[in-house]
Symmetry: C2
DNA sequence: GATTTTTTGTGAAAAAAAGTACAAAAAATG
DNA sequence: CATTTTTTGTACTTTTTTTCACAAAAAATC
């Protein structure tokens, strides 16, 4: 079991590795990657060694191989389906985002109570939340994004969990109560912004 | 100096405290707050004691007082101005969000290269990035949100730093290189989503 | 091909974070 | 008003994370 902290660091390394690749490099040393990612070279090496990811002594690490290994952690080889509940500002921004598809994450459908969201303007089909169960089962979706108002968050979450969802990315400013086998990742944009005021 | 980890926990406590307040409570015990926030009661007490935030033995903590103290950490008493650079999907979602204003965070202006964004449809004025300097100085803005494409992120950041910005919330999937005195907080939505696939 | 240089990989040490345990305060009870 | 109960506040312990340090591997140089 990899800690969430280390998981996040692998995703950070991936961003840096893509940058190096764009710049034409095929190899990196731990200190290159560390400097770019803002961590020490030892940290980089230890993280990789933890997963048995090998470099070559004096030759460094092969970027393509590292990216492959990192993507494997996040199951990029298999089906990566997602649904979005709440097609307001955030839900639509995510649905429109091309970067997910590029990265083999497929947004299967959106759900919203408001029928005005069911138009063809959205690039994904949008349904009434009553259809969550059907779609989740049909595609075997395991991951959902919650982007509904605060007041609806827990209720929507319960419905998702009942449908078989096992991982949730939650944008509502509430703490969700879920069974053991469900993982919740929180994105609280207000908190992210507000934490900055401590430093100003 | 409070660590970023603890800062985030205070903001988490605040979410829970607001919930308790909505439910009509005026006091909490450390174990109430801990349970709601998903941390131990000892952690809660330790965090508060770290900042000299006092409860009363047997009486617990006064919610209003806790909220006041937490808000003080984030300077809610003073001016909290923000600008947004990049008024695309994310930039507009943030600009439209009422929750910031409710929380005394004032989004002064948005900036975008694309003149079609300068319309009155947005609830904040949107200007060409050349006006960043002027607006930042006029309002004494210290905090900025970067929501431009990857390729423009570093350039925009440099411009902001040159204008006197000291804290940045960055949505671009890149690591920003900034001077010592500037704090960057990263929101990488793809990483947040993707980290979930480890658990599915 | 022996020697030097560079860089990985990983135990050991240090630092940071979280959890334990309990004395002290204060409200509630008898 | 003495005793019991409850809950905070914080020293102490344990666990987790990070850094240090250096042997081993491999490329480069002599
Ligand atoms: N937009 C931001 O910048 C921002 C910033 C901070 C936090 N947030 C939080 O993110 C969440 C989403 O924000 P937003 O701006 O996209 O909100 P929004 O109001 O634009 O959209 C919410 C959508 O959810 C739908 N909805 C409501 N109840 C529902 C239900 N039970 N089932 C399905 N759909 C339902 C609404 O019809 C609406 O379309 C909110 O909880 C908000 O507090 C947003
Ligand atoms: N939308 C999402 O769900 C999502 C998900 C993951 C990551 N992101 C990242 O967030 C960032 C913003 O995403 P988005 O979907 O809002 O993008 P977007 O393309 O909708 O908007 C970007 C805006 O920035 C403007 N812009 C470009 N260069 C600029 C410059 N130099 N100065 C000022 N403005 C400039 C463009 O005109 C555009 O309006 C991107 O870096 C993207 O990779 C977005």
């Amino acid at each position: 079991m990899i800690s969430h902290k280390i998981l996040k660091r692998f995703l950070l390394y991936r961003i840096c590795l893509h940058k190096f690749q764009r710049l034409g490099f095929t190899k990196v040393f731990s200190y290159n990657l560390g400097e770019e990612a803002g961590v020490t070279a030892e940290q980089v090496r230890k993280d990789f060694s933890l997963l048995g990811i090998k470099g070559s002594k004096r030759g460094g690490y092969d970027i393509e191989y590292l990216l492959l290994e990192i993507n494997n952690i996040f199951k990029q080889n298999g089906e990566r389906y997602v649904i979005i509940v709440g097609m307001g500002n955030i839900g639509q921004a995510l649905a429109n985002y091309q970067g997910f598809r590029e990265n083999k994450i497929i947004t299967v459908a959106g759900f919203d109570l408001d029928p005005s969201k069911y138009t063809r303007k959205n690039i994904i089909p949008v349904h009434h939340p009553d259809k969550i169960d059907e779609i989740v089962r049909e595609y075997g979706v395991k991951t959902a994004i919650i982007a509904v108002p605060e007041a609806a968050g827990q209720e929507v979450c319960d419905r998702l969990v009942a449908s078989g969802i096992r991982a949730v990315l939650n944008f509502s400013p509430i703490i969700l109560h879920v069974p053991e086998h469900v993982t919740v990742n929180y994105v609280n944009l207000r908190n992210e912004l507000e934490s900055l005021f401590y430093y100003t």
